[in-house]
Structures are given as C-alpha cells and as structure tokens.
Symmetry: C2
Subunit: 555 residues, 2 copies
C-alpha cells in the first residue's frame, strides 16, 4: 500500500502561515517573543482568521482585559464570525466583540454581571450560544471538540522567551494554554511585567508564541470578599443550624463553600460556636476554596488544616504567603492556584458542597437563571453534583449513601452532601421557593434544549433555611420530597401550602429538622457569635497581613 | 493584637532540612540538580522520613521503575512506615516496599497484574489499604488530603536545571509534580537522558528538586495494543450490534473505549461496516483515547477527527507524529498526553463510555474484583458514571436523558451513555452474569466499608452481549431491569432463569434489542469485516509508520 495521499498537517501548516503573517506585520518590533502594546492590533489582525475559535481568558477573577479590548477594536470587515470561548463573561468588552460583529458564537460558563446584556444580544440575533457549561466541563471540551485556534491569556510576568509567571492567580491559564499549544494553535499573553528572571516559571516558554506587556496590570475582581458587617442574625441562626445539623451530624471534614454571606457566616462561626461544640479537628479540616478573608479567624484558631484554591483573592497575598502550611505555595513562597485541578478536587475529594441559589422548585431543582438574564452556572454544577465516579469512603459519604438507600434493595454506595442554603425570601421579598423555575420560560425564550438548572433536585441532599433543614435523603418518594421542601419554605406561597400533618410526620422521622430539634439555641443567634464583625476585625485577626481592597475599607 | 505565635511554616522548614541533608549526603556528586544513578540510595535516605506520604509514579503505562527499585532497597531500619500513593501498582517492586517493611499503607487506583499479591499482603497485615480510587479521584486527593511529601517520577529527558521533557508519555507526571512542588514537598525525577537543550519543556525546572539519569529507559507497557488476529466472529457480531444499535441510534460523536478485544473490534469495523451504513462523519468523530493501534484504519479512512490521550502507546510515536491534525502534538511535533485532563475530558466531554467487565449482577452492577484479587478500577468509574455536573447538550445525551425520564414527572436532563459489552461466558466458561458479585465476599475478606463495584447499575445504560442489547434506560423498575439483564445473559444460569414472557414484552418495547431486530445480518459477522486482521495489516494501514513492539511481531 502506498503512503496515504491525504494531507494530515493542515493545522501545523496553518499555524506556520499565521506566525509568518504576524512576524511580517510586526517586523523588528518583536524582541524574542515580546512585542510592544501599541502593536497588538497588528498581531491580532495578522494571526486571526474569520470564524476562528478564540479562547479569551475571562476568569472568575483575573481578566485578560487588554487583549479583550484589543479584540473588540478589530476591524469586523477583516475579522468576523469568531467563535468565542470564555469561562466567565465579566467585562463589557466580552460582549462588545459580538455587538461589533467581530464574533458570532459563544461557549461559556458564567456571565454574572453581563447576564442581561447576553440575553439581549441573543434576542437580537447577534450572539449565538453554543452551550452553557460548568468550568471543568468547558475546559474538558477544549481538549475534545472545542480546541482553541488562538488563545489570549493573562500572566503576572513573562520573560522574553515566553516563560510565564502566573503566580497566585493562575486560575484557568494552564488548561487554556495546554489545549491551544498542543493542537497547533497560537498562544498570546498579556503580562503585567516583562522580567529578566521570573520568581518561578508556571508555564514553559515553549508553549507560548507572543507576549505583550500590558499598559496596566490585568483587571482582577475581589469576588470572594464578604464584609462581616453585612451578615444578619438570621444568617447566624442558619449557620448554627448548618454546623450542628449537617457538619457535625455527618462529620464533614473536606468541603467547598459557595460565595455568599450565608456561608461566610458559617466560616465566622467555626472559631466560636463550632469550637464550643468541641468540633475543632473533627469537621472542616480540608478545603477546596479560594482564600476567603472570612476564613481567616478559623485558620488562626487552628480549625483549618489545608486550603487548595481555584484562584486567589485580592489583598490576601501576604497573608497566604505567611501561612504556607495551610495554602499551596511554591518554592518562591507565593501561592499556586489551578481552577481545573481544584474543580476536580471539589468534585472528587470533598464530602460536601454548600451554597446559595436564587430559586428552588418543589423537586429541589435550583437555578440562578431568571427572566431576561442568561447567567450560567460557574463551578456549582460540578461541585453540587453527586460524584458518581468516586470510590473512596469517608464517614460523611457513607452516611449520606446509607440514608439515601435505607429500605431499598440497592448495593451500598456513598453519596456526596449537596446543601442549598437560602433564606425563604431574598432581596425585595422575592420568594426563594417557587412552583416553577423561571428557567423554563428562559429556555423557551433563548431556544435552549432544556431548562438551565444549576443544581438538580436529584443531587441535592439538604435544603437549609431559617425554618430548618429538609433532609431529602430521607424522603422516600416525590410527595415526601415536596412536603419536606414546603416544610422549610416559611411564609412563601410554597411554604404556606404545606400539608401540616405530613410535615409533622417528616419531622418525626428526621426528614425535617428544626433548629430546636437539635438543640440550637436561638437566643445565641446574634452577631456576637461572629468571630469577626467587620472588615477591620478580619484585618486584625490576620495580624495586619490581610490588606482589603479600597472599596472594603470603611475606616 | 500581636502577631500569632503559632509556627505556620513547618512544611517549608522541614523541606529545607531535607534538602540540606540530601546535599550533605551527595556533596560534589551533584551537578546542578543532577546526580549520578549510583547515589540514588544516599539521596533517598537523606530526603525521606519515616511515615512520609510518597507518591511513586506507577502509571497505567510509564513506570518510574529505577526509583521504585531504589525505594524497595532502602534500609527499613532507617526508613519505614511510608504511606505509598500510586495510581497503578504494576511492578513487583511496588509491593516489595511493603514486603520489606519500608512502606505500610497504600492509596491507589489499579493493580491489575499484582492484584493477587496485594490481597495476600493485606491478609498478612503487611499492607494497609487507605482506599481504592478512580484516577482523577486519586489525583484530586493529592491536592486536598493526600499531598505527597516526596514524589518519584519519570521523564523522557531533563536538563541540569531540572526542566523536564515528558513527551508523548506525560500521563500522570504533571498532576503529581504540581501537588508535591506546591505543598513544599520534594520532587525527584528519573530521566532517560540528560540533555543540554530539551525538545520542549513540559514541566518547569523550578518545580523539580533532583534529577537522576536512569541506567536504562523507564519501563513502559504497551497496554492498548490488541492483535486483530485474536478477534472472534462473536466479537464482530457484537461490534456490529453496538454500531447499529447504539452508536447510530444515539448519534454518538464523542466517546471513550475501554481496553479489550470487544471494543477493538468496533474500532476495526468503523471503516467497513459503519462506513457502509453511511455513518462516516456522523458517529465516533472525537475520542478521549490513547493512540490505539486498532484505530489506525478508522483514522486513515477519515472516520476520526480528533483523539486526545491519557498516555501514549509503544510503537505509535512516528504514526502520531505524522498525523498531527488528529492527535495533540506540541510545537516540537511529538504528542502531549495528560491523564488528569483526559480523564476530565472522558467524564465531561464524551457522550459515551463503552468497556468490558468480568462480572455483572442482576442490578447491572459490574466489577473486576474477584476472590483473592484486589485489582482496583483505573479510569472506568470516572468515565463509566453519569457526569451529573454536565450541562451542555448533544443529541446522544438528550436522547438518553429522555429515555430515562419517560413517563416520570422529572425536569428534563441529559444522561451519559455507559455501555458494558461482554460475552455471556468469559475465559474458562466463567459466566459474566452472576446473582451476587464476588465483590461482596472480597469486601468482607479485606475489611472494606462497601463492596468494590467498578460501575454501578444506576449508571449503566446498556448491556451488550452476543444475544443483544439490554437498554436499562427503558426499564421502569427493578424487576424489569433484572429481566432485561437476564434476557441478554444467554445460557448462563442467570440467563436461563429468565421470565420468558416478560423478556418478550421488554423486547416489544425496545428494552431488549436482538441483532435481527435492528437489521444486523448475522451472516456478515465474519472476520472479513475487520479492516485489519493482523498486526501486519495495522502496520500496512499506517503506511509503515506504526512499529509494534517485538512481542506483537509474528511475521
């Protein structure tokens, strides 16, 4: 048989052409792999082709904003129809590329602050959504059917060989660059600084094609900072109930917390309430979590053994550096984060995920999608799902699995604890419990195949409100599950429509737990129980190492 | 408040002590980070401490065998009680460390060839198993509660600064090194070659402490090579049934295949049977798969668009290098693999996992654990589980989800296809279908918390035998599921005990599918349908690029 005649290196050949065009456009402006910021338009016009899949590093925190703005300024007559891959759409320029016609299609994970504008662009036919993903799912597709042709990422520093120092805010960068570089794509980096010698190399220069020194440091959002001053006494009560009714009950040692004041309250009760209950060393020892400032008092009190992070948090750099036994730091002393690996850790190495949501229906499905807003899910679906591939046992996992299988003819299996913590009414007296999720109508509006559910009722094990805990593991059928949910839904319409007798029966069986059933003393539920009551308290607890961003400094 | 008095850098301080001891022991034998092979014992005695968690790179394929042997030769009076972390226990020295008392505890994923010896050491009290994991789960724990204090890994080449080239067989190395280096652990590497300039840098030297040039190249196992000559006509029939009854039925575009002749037969039928059915470009386009030699004809025929790999396969190097549009290759032209990311891809970016097993019970639970053998699960639990965090839709995923929810009051949700493909009798006429898995008895013998199930019946969607397909998605209760399984279990005792009327009813409903029901012509089920019938055919199909290891060359 003769050698096959088909050409098998179209990507390699195309890459060489792109590099040649770029080098021709840049000429002697290139120093090694480094070009001046003023030439970024030339580089992008040279390197890009219409219809390219382009991964722009929009992370949960760090943003390749300089490159994003440059992309949005391209001439749509020359470059158009791009298929954008972004884990997070956070900045206006992420949508300007669609508005201006440079891009046409989008696969993403989260669009929090831009959710309303995404919905408008979809309605106007300017933005075609491929799909909404959880982070690790989107990264996984970068390696299978969504390989980026070009990626635009952000680094703390680079050298002229293209070696990158991504430091504490490494986040998505390694996964994006690996997927691009090893599929003959082009890797372009904005760096805050060009240095002769880097503090450490996080990404080898061999994987990188071009580096541009950004005129200003990349934008970064302090997404995980919660001011303890805003925590309410209701939230203190809910935190007490969580600690006694779930953390202690299941001996939860490894966990992830969502963003929000509900879980910040729990973090601030570990050194006080949980310690008084004798739980130190028994619960909440290992965390998959960003360096939450609200965790400082728990760390200082010795409650926390380790924290592995998706990304960092502004102002926590010195504190993290001074606590290397707790955080993952490199030989240079600064933290390493990695969103892909930390999502794997959250999925497979944690016994519990606890987080808030906007709406919960009678089956326990929850969603942050509301009408006119296409917001995505972030990491919640990955961490708020039973990890069915998990095989190692722990007391929490075994107990949840036993409860779910009680009285059923099923082979023993553990289960992850997935807890939704919500007040029955959220801002503006919107009920958290609804008969029907807005997600249904949104799916219809936006032409989605199925409603965008953040966490499915099948995966939720507990719903916790100020009225108590609904333990869905102990519900034997859909009716019981519905009544257990109504039974903690307070004065919402859903809660008022409960079958009182069934709710009392569920309570007798432990499928509904009221704070008083487990000895939670409501009189103690005051802000005095918080280990820090203000940002200043957090700074003090850190021994002055934590330096909150300006907007959080009210002293 | 004063600065806290607790010491927060014990790991850093301990790391410094270890490095100091090692440097003292090695003296001027060190050249940069490189030491001669003869000094490996000095290094390990210097660096290790009793009770350390030590991650030894035993991969599915690549083995840090030189370091493993050196570890097994240590003086147990000086170094003992080590807690070993290995994804795969493949070599005798992996167990010698327990036999000799150097190590005492083990967390792992797979122990195929050593499974019987593992069971014996457990029974003798010399080996204490922490847990058995799927690969990604074990890696996840490296970052949370099982951080290695010292890791021993293998590279293709290194330079004197410790930069590593791991090349096509990168496999587990990045995850292991990242977890160790960023928790102040010690990273030790055996390299086949020390070079002045590496083909490319896969792992930055900043993450590496010591490199030793191994006296011989690391051992590597051609685990994914299947000689087409050994494929039976029964397997051809099953492959035809799989292609028509599952791949075409669900339009499976992205998938993973297990190891084995059953799935190799499918790979070899894509260019013939599947192409005749007009399925080219419609199924099996994107793969999370090692470079299986049996996939060569499908690649050459243009059936396969992309393959992303966990590791490489011996003899496939030149072929892969010549097909860069299909495989993930770096700027240097050689492949990059990454087991952690490819397991994420298998979990989240694939619509189907199909693989074999040893035993299936009446609930569809399957296990490769048999009496007297503690074998572990490898990647199967991660890929053979519904990815409940997944949110992007595809036709296959939506259809499986619809079938699972038909007639139920449940919110729409997709589902992964998880197919078990087995002949009803395996070697030595052992039935593949059993009333009770051996895993139950093994759990009792070895003191496991729950029986070691590889894939749970809850996650299995189809069971395919020579008798047909049991579609568990369409079974409405445990009884139907049991009869659907009996209905494809052939002449095994489980199959003979079927309720014939119920089986026929299930067949009428499509919950059981016979080959003839979907127009699979059994007369075509001969070896003539295989696109390659021998190793030589595979070499020929590759245009001479594939170079099988000696033991597979029978010409």
């Amino acid at each position: 048989m003769n050698a096959p005649s088909r050409v098998w290196n179209t990507l390699q050949a195309n890459r060489a052409q792109r590099l040649q065009r770029a080098r021709a456009a840049l000429g002697c402006a290139l120093d090694g792999k480094v070009l001046p910021a003023a030439h970024i338009g030339d580089l992008l016009h040279g390197v890009l082709e219409c219809g390219d899949r382009v991964c722009l590093e929009g992370n949960n925190q760090k943003q390749a904003d300089f490159l994003g703005q440059a992309l949005a300024r391209l001439d749509p007559a020359r470059i158009n129809g791009l298929h954008m891959l972004l884990s997070v759409l956070a900045l206006p320029e992420h949508l300007d590329v669609f508005e201006r016609g440079v891009a046409a299609r989008l696969d993403f994970s989260f669009s929090g602050p831009q959710a309303a504008r995404v919905a408008k662009l979809v309605a106007a036919g300017k933005l075609n959504i491929g799909a909404i993903h959880t982070y690790l799912e989107l990264f996984a597709r970068y390696f299978v059917d969504l390989a980026p042709r070009v990626c635009l990422v952000a680094a703390e520093a680079a050298d002229r060989h293209g070696n990158l120092y991504t430091g504490p805010n490494t986040e998505d960068t390694p996964a994006i660059v690996e997927a691009t570089a090893f599929k003959n794509g082009i890797v372009i980096v904005q760096a805050n600084r060009i240095m002769e010698t880097l503090p450490r190399v996080d990404i080898p220069g061999d994987w990188v094609d071009f580096v541009v020194q950004s005129p200003r440091p990349y934008y970064i959002e302090p997404l995980f900072t919660r001011d303890p001053a805003q925590i309410s006494e209701i939230q203190v009560l809910m935190a007490m109930t969580a600690i006694k009714g779930i953390y202690a009950e299941y001996q939860v040692e490894r966990l992830n917390h969502g963003i929000g004041f509900d879980t910040a309250a729990i973090e601030l009760l570990l050194p006080t309430y949980a310690t008084d209950l004798g739980l130190k060393g028994k619960i909440a020892r290992h965390w998959a979590l960003n360096p939450h400032p609200a965790l400082i008092p728990a760390i200082e009190s010795g409650f926390v053994e380790s924290v592995y992070s998706f990304g960092s948090e502004l102002g926590m750099e010195d504190y993290v550096r001074a606590r290397p036994d707790v955080f993952s730091v490199g030989p240079d002393g600064s933290m390493r984060s990695n969103r892909a690996l930390c999502q794997a850790a959250g999925h497979y190495a944690c016994d519990m995920f606890i987080g808030s949501t906007l709406q919960i229906d009678l089956q326990g499905n929850s969603s942050t999608a509301t009408l006119g807003r296409i917001s995505g899910f972030g990491g919640a679906p990955n961490m708020g799902a039973d990890a069915r591939g998990r095989r190692h046992a722990s007391p929490a996992w075994l107990k949840a699995g036993r409860q779910a299988r009680e009285g059923r003819n099923a082979i023993p299996r553990g289960q992850k604890l997935v807890v939704q913590i919500v007040e029955t009414f959220r801002e503006h007296m919107q009920p958290a419990f609804v008969e029907r999720l807005d997600a249904w109508e949104l799916a219809e509006q936006a032409g989605m195949a199925i409603p965008p559910v953040m966490i499915y009722g099948d995966d939720v094990t507990h719903i916790l409100t100020e009225e108590g805990i609904a333990n869905l593991l102990l519900c034997r059928d859909d009716d019981e599950r519905e009544q257990a949910i109504r039974g903690v839904a307070g004065y919402t319409a859903v809660g008022m429509a409960r079958d009182k007798r069934m709710v009392e029966n569920l309570r007798d069986r432990g499928a509904i737990v009221r704070p008083e059933d487990i000895g939670v003393d409501k009189r103690l539920a005051t802000r005095d129980l918080l280990a820090a009551k203000s940002m200043k308290d957090l700074v003090r607890a850190s021994g002055g190492l934590y330096q909150p961003p300006k907007r959080f400094r009210n002293w």
